[in-house]
């Protein structure tokens, strides 16, 4: 079973910051990346430098951050069309079949800017996950006044993700073990049948989850559960957190200014 946990243990400055400050600053960084206009490369570069410094402070492996940001790659396919439809000076003209596609300079700038924004956003999100344990994130959400029900659901979900992920893996292994096939022949009957089998597995998983959920609930009631979970971690926002937040906001504002006044 592959671990779902993406937290990297450490004791860096970023690891020790109050989780809610990290959550708010991550959101502000993504917001700032989203607000940088197309083609403001200085601002994109400065944001990237800020990110690299943060990664360095966290002592997070940079390679990991870059490899995992490939997650957005499939989605960039959807943005390819802006290369050809944004009005601007033509760069390359393609003739696939009966169509004529004109790639414009403005289109290239727009596409590269979309890519830059999403890469910055996904990397800062990776950094947040890598320096903050999930339970701490959940407490940050409670401090940020997310509905208690939703936060509790997230907490229990996180707890049972591993258990039910294992359960699903076992179901698939069982199917695999019963799926003998001759080399070169496709296994299983028709599509309907294969879908039904996968559906049966999902149904099985649902019933097991439901029964486990009821058992867990009874067990927790027996141990004094009254609808929410307590923590011993105080999560105090200290002077250090305030300074970090102030510096971060200042830098992000600077980046926004530079993005709009290239002379600065």
């Amino acid at each position: 079973m592959q671990s779902f946990e993406r937290y990297q243990t450490g004791n860096s400055f970023l690891h020790r910051l109050a989780p809610r400050v990290k959550v708010v600053m991550t959101a502000l960084f993504i917001l700032s990346a989203l607000l940088i206009p197309d083609g403001a490369w200085t601002a994109f570069l400065l944001s990237l430098m800020m990110l690299l410094v943060l990664i360095r402070i966290a002592a997070a492996p940079i390679g990991m951050a870059f490899k995992r940001s490939l997650v957005i790659l499939p989605f960039t396919l959807t943005a390819f069309s802006v290369l050809f439809v944004t009005p601007g000076a033509p760069l390359i003209v393609l003739h696939p079949g009966p169509w004529t596609l004109t790639m414009t300079d403005a289109g290239v700038i727009r596409f590269a800017s979309i890519l830059a924004r999403s890469l910055l956003a996904v990397k800062i999100a990776i950094l947040l996950t890598a320096t903050t344990p999930f339970p701490d994130l959940l407490h940050a959400f409670r401090h940020l006044h997310l509905p208690r029900t939703l936060v509790s659901i997230l907490a229990f979900m996180y707890r049972y993700l591993f258990v039910l992920g294992d359960e699903a893996t076992r179901l698939m292994r069982a199917r695999q073990a019963r799926s003998a096939r001759l080399p070169g022949r496709s296994g299983g009957a028709n599509l309907m049948w294969r879908g039904k089998v996968a559906g049966g597995m999902a149904g099985q998983l649902f019933l097991r989850s439901l029964e486990r959920g009821e058992r867990v609930h009874q067990a927790m009631l027996a141990r004094g559960y009254r609808g929410h979970i307590y923590t011993l971690n105080p999560h105090v926002v200290t002077r250090r957190d305030w300074l970090f937040a102030a510096a971060g906001v200042f830098l992000l504002l600077l980046i926004q200014l530079i993005a709009r006044f290239p002379l600065l």
Binding site: R6, V24, T26, I30, L34, V71, I72, L73, F75, L77, A79, F80, S81, V82, V85, I114, R117, A125, I126, T129, F134, R142, H143, H145, P147, T149, L150, S152, I153, F156, M157, V163, L164, L171, M172, S186, G195, K196, V197, A198, G199, G200, A202, G203, L205, F206, S209, L210, R212, G213, V216, L221, Y225, H228, Y230, V237, W242, V249, L253, L257
Partner: protein, 326 residues
């Protein structure tokens, strides 16, 4: 090891990352998502009471794990479950919205699958639309025979994926990230296939539960999860999807013209953050002083907002957060 085949990564999924949606579109769908989640949290607390949250959390983990199940379709592609429609039929619409919001939130937080600012749109596409269509259609078919219910569930599951794809392409287009003529047919085409996998798994799961725990799917039980209003809401969304998808795929120019007339395109593409046009203060005209002043006012406003936000975040005695109150 989770078996993840290569093709699952090459298919453009519905999880929109950050950077692909404009700020206006992101915020609009966050607003819708927040309204639905707030109502859902209240309803679920009333119906299930606060103490049933462990069950809801485990069912969210179930959706997460069920998304790992796959089966081969053809040519190396495989069928998967998104689970929105199945969750809505099994748990009721409000619980399903909450569960799907938790799943989408955890996917963004743990795997960066889907963005933070784009999360509102993702919850709308994969949690709210799917709950409306999935539960609405199934609730309408309650009087039919079991076979009829399963057929309706299949249609609902397929349509829920198509509605998500449709809504995703519209959001991308309104953000100026993609041309509608390209993204709409591509998204709908790919998801017409993905939807078949969704429909087969959903029906398979329901058929299995009909056999083993029919009590969970009895007509009375399903009625208790949501009133007749859901039939109308689901019907309207279904009608919109069925009408809009072929219309827009066949004639995207037409839709673009309509949007232009209504002023949508400019709303999507124009910068929504220009409170001061061109960063000058109207009274002072276009002088350097005016630009600097506008910048200073903007910075000051941002600073005030941040200070207020931080004050709100400050530690306050909340019994759910500290053990000391016990």
């Amino acid at each position: 090891m989770i078996p993840i085949s290569l093709n699952t990564w090459l298919i453009p999924q519905l999880h929109i990352p950050d950077g692909f949606l404009s700020l206006a579109v992101s915020l609009f769908f966050w607003l819708i998502a927040i309204i639905f989640i707030a109502i859902a949290a209240r309803k679920v607390q009333q119906d299930f009471d606060d103490r049933r949250t462990p069950l809801m959390g485990i069912l969210a983990a179930f959706i997460f794990a069920a998304q790992m199940l796959n089966f081969p379709i053809a040519g190396g592609t495989s069928g998967h479950l998104l689970g929105g429609a199945l969750a809505a039929i099994l748990l009721g619409p409000w619980a399903a919205i909450l569960v799907m919001a938790a799943v989408i939130g955890a996917q963004a937080l743990l795997f960066q699958d889907g963005g933070f600012l784009a999360m509102g749109a993702n919850i709308f596409n994969m949690g709210i639309l799917t709950a409306l269509i999935g539960f609405g259609l199934y609730r309408g078919a309650l009087r039919g025979a079991k076979r009829f219910k399963l057929i309706i569930a299949a249609i609902a599951a397929w349509l829920s994926v198509m509605a998500g794809a449709l809504s995703t392409s519209l959001q991308l287009w309104l953000s100026g990230t993609a041309s509608l003529q390209v993204v709409m047919p591509a998204m709908l085409g790919v998801h017409a296939f993905i939807g078949v996998g969704e429909a087969l798994i959903t029906v398979g799961a329901l058929a299995f539960i009909f056999k083993t725990r029919p009590d969970l799917l009895s007509a009375g039980e399903v009625r208790g999860r949501g009133g007749r209003g859901w039939i109308a809401a689901g019907g309207i969304i279904t009608l919109l999807t069925v009408l809009l998808a072929p219309l827009a795929s066949a004639n995207p120019d037409g839709l673009e013209r309509v949007a232009e007339k209504l002023g949508f395109i400019n709303a999507g593409r124009g910068a929504p953050y220009q409170i001061f046009p061109d960063y000058t203060i109207p009274l002072l005209g276009e002088t350097p002083l005016s630009t600097i002043l506008a910048g200073a006012i903007g910075a000051l406003a941002a600073g005030v907002i941040v200070v207020l936000a931080m004050r709100l975040l400050r530690q306050r005695p909340d019994q759910s957060l500290s053990a000391g109150d016990q």
